[in-house]
Symmetry: C2
Subunit: 365 residues, 2 copies
C-alpha cells in the first residue's frame, strides 16, 4: 500500500488547491479560496461544470483517468473534493501523489449507508433502527425488528431522495427490493421527527474543531427548500448537536468541513440521519451571516490554515432556487436578499440553480 501524502506546512497564498468535482459546491469553494489568495484547479468530467467558470486551472477528464489525475496532482499543493461519491480508487490514487483531505476513510464510510450507520452507532450516538438487506430473506426479519413504516434505501449513491422507497408492509418491501435489482440495501425505521436540523462543522489539520450554529431544514419532494438559523433547538440541544459532530470528526481523524444531518425526535432526542463529508446546502447561509463561510472554512482546513470563527453575526434564512424558478431571476434580484446563481444551463425540474439568503438581526437560539 502506498503511503498517503500529508501536508507538512500550510499552503501559502499563491498556492493551488485542487477540487475534484465542478458543481455549485466546487464553484463556491473556488471563490472562497480566491478570497484568501489561493488559486484553484477544478477537475471535472463535465465540460459545462459551473466551477470551470471561476477558476483559471482546469482539467476536463474522467474520474478514472490516471494520467489526467497525475497531471492534476502535479498542478496542486493540496486536493479536496466537493461530492462524496468520488470513486474510492480515485481518492486513493491522488492521495499517493498529493495531500488529499478529507481522507479516504471518511469518504469510504460516508459513501455506504450501512457502514455509516454502524460507525455512528459504534460511537454510542443515536440513529433510526437499521438493518442490512442483501436478500429477500432479510426483509421479513428486518421488518420484525424495525417495524413499519420504514424506508428501504440503496447503500450507495443516493441523494435528494433518489434511491429510496418508503414501505408500509412486507409486500411493498419485496416490490421495492425487486425494483432496486439486487444492489445492497438498508432498511431504516421511519422516524416521526419533529423537524430536521444539521450541523456544519470543521476539523483542522491540528485537530481543532469549529461548528456553525445548527440550521433547521425544510424539504419539499426530498429536496432542501429552506434552512433557518437559529432553529427550534434549545441551547443545550445545540451544544449536544455540535458534540455529536465533534465525536464523528474525531473518530474519522477528519480534516475539512463535514455535515451531520439530524432528525430531532418529538421527545427531543437527536438522531444522526446522514454524514456528508463536505460543505452542505444547509450551510449556504454562512456566506452572508458569518465572517468565515463554510466554503472558506473548508479551504482553510484542507490548506492547513487555522480554522476561522464560526460565530454568526446575524440570523438567516436560506431558500433554494429550484428548476424553472431560476427563470424568474430578474424578480429574485429585487427582493432584498443576497442572490446566488450557479451558472448552470438547463433549469431541469428540481435542479439546484441558485439560492437566496435573507439576514435578520441576531437573536439567541
Amino acid at each position: 500500500m502506498t503511503a498517503f501524502k500529508t501536508l507538512s506546512a500550510p499552503v501559502a497564498p499563491g498556492g493551488t488547491i485542487g477540487i475534484l468535482g465542478g458543481g455549485q459546491l466546487g464553484r463556491m469553494l473556488a471563490m472562497a479560496a480566491a478570497r484568501l489568495g489561493l488559486r484553484t484547479h477544478i477537475y471535472s468530467d463535465t465540460e459545462k461544470a459551473p466551477a470551470f467558470q471561476v477558476s483559471a486551472g482546469r482539467s476536463l477528464a474522467a474520474y478514472d483517468d490516471e494520467a489526467a489525475l497525475a497531471e492534476f496532482a502535479r498542478a496542486c499543493d493540496a486536493v479536496t473534493f466537493e461530492f462524496e461519491n468520488v470513486p474510492g480508487q480515485t481518492a486513493a490514487f491522488l492521495a499517493g501523489l498529493v495531500p488529499v483531505n478529507p481522507g479516504p476513510r471518511a469518504l469510504a464510510i460516508s459513501q455506504e449507508r450501512y457502514e455509516e450507520k454502524r460507525f455512528v452507532a459504534g460511537l454510542g450516538l443515536k440513529t433510526a433502527p437499521f438493518a442490512a438487506i442483501d436478500s429477500r430473506d432479510d426483509i421479513a426479519k428486518a421488518i420484525k425488528a424495525i417495524g413499519c413504516p420504514a424506508v428501504l434505501k440503496t447503500r450507495r449513491m443516493g441523494y435528494d431522495g433518489k434511491g429510496q422507497a418508503t414501505i408500509r408492509n412486507a409486500k411493498e418491501a419485496m416490490e421495492a427490493f425487486d425494483r432496486f435489482q439486487g444492489v445492497p440495501l438498508i432498511l431504516e425505521g421511519f422516524v416521526d421527527f419533529a423537524f430536521e436540523a444539521s450541523v456544519i462543522a470543521a476539523r483542522g489539520l491540528d485537530g481543532s474543531f469549529a461548528a456553525y450554529d445548527p440550521p433547521g431544514n425544510e424539504h419539499e419532494n426530498h429536496i432542501l427548500r429552506r434552512s433557518t438559523v437559529p432553529c427550534a433547538l434549545s441551547e443545550s440541544q445545540c451544544a449536544d448537536a455540535k458534540g455529536i459532530a465533534r465525536a464523528i470528526g474525531e473518530a474519522f481523524g477528519y480534516v475539512g468541513v463535514f455535515t451531520v444531518e439530524l432528525f430531532v425526535a418529538r421527545d427531543g432526542a437527536l438522531l444522526v440521519n446522514e454524514i456528508a463529508p463536505r460543505v452542505h446546502n444547509s450551510g449556504h447561509w454562512t456566506l452572508e451571516a458569518c465572517m468565515v463561510s463554510q466554503f472558506e472554512q473548508h479551504m482553510r482546513a484542507v490548506a492547513g490554515w487555522p480554522l476561522g470563527d464560526p460565530a454568526r453575526h446575524s440570523n438567516a434564512v436560506m431558500e433554494n432556487i429550484l428548476g424553472a424558478e431560476a427563470h424568474d431571476w430578474l424578480r429574485l434580484a429585487q427582493n432584498g436578499s443576497a442572490l446566488h446563481l450557479y451558472g448552470k444551463g438547463e433549469a431541469r425540474p428540481g435542479r439546484k440553480m441558485g439560492h437566496l439568503t435573507r439576514l435578520r438581526p441576531l437573536t439567541k437560539d
Copy 2:
C-alpha cells in the same frame, strides 16, 4: 463618429461581462459577477493579473491592440473597466462594438483633474480653489488667487499620492513645476479638512440611484489605510454627501458604481476632492456589511440589472494590508476579521496586497 452600442435588455445569467483591467478590483468584480451566474472575460496587458485567476475568459494583450479588443468585444455581452486610466481611444473603440459602461464622457472627465474640477464646480458643488498651470507664468497668478500652502498635481494619471507635490511658496512651486517636466498641471488650494470621507454610489441603466453610507477614510503616506462606517458625518451631512454623488451621476448620465472623495471642512462643508468612475478601496467593507456589495452593484448596473439595496446590516472597519504586511498572512487569518488576499506575487512597499474587514453591531450615524 461611430454610434456607441447600448444595452437593449439586461444580460441574462450565463451571459458574459468583459472587464478591462486585471487588478484586485477586476478580480473582486469578476467574483461578484459569478455570484449572479454571470460569466466574465478579463482583458489585461499583464500576464500575472490577479483577476485572471478567477475567470475562465481571458485576453492577454495591449490596451491598444484593436484586433484583440475586437475579439474581446465579440466574447462579451457588455463591457466595463476596473481602472480610470483606460485610454480614451480604447474605450471609444470598444463602445462601437459592445455596450460599454461607464460611458466615455465620465471616463474622459475623471481622467483629467482640471476638467473634473471644472465639471464639479459647474454643478454648483464645492471644491478646493483650483487653477490650471500650463506654464511657469501661470504659477504666480495662481498662488495669488489660491494662497499657500497648496498642492501642485499632474492633471492625468495620478493615484495614491503619485504625481503631486505640496508647495509652501512660489519658489517651491517653480521647482515642482520643473520636476514635472512640462506636463499639464493643476494647482489646488490646501484644504485643512477635519477628515476625509467618500460616497460609493451607483446609477442604474434606468436612471435609478443608490448610495452606500459614506465611510470616513484615513490615509498613511497618501495610501488608504482604513475606512470606517459610520463616520463622523451627521445624518444631514450623509444625506448631503449622497446628494452630491447623485448630482454628479445624473450630470454624467452614468451607469455603474462611482466614488466621490470628499474633504469634510472644519466648518462642516463638503468639498469634492476627486471622482473615481469605478468601485473604490474605501467601499470594500460593503462585501461583508451589505447584502449587495459595491462589486455586485457595479456588475448589476453594467449588466442592466436592477440595483441592489445599499443598506448596511452592520458597522464596519476595513483596513488595507500593504506591502510586506501580507507576509503575516497566517496571523492575519486568525484575528476574527474577514481576510481578503488579492493573489499578487511580489509584496512591494505600499502595494495593496489585501484587506481585512471587521463588523460590529449596527448603530445609527
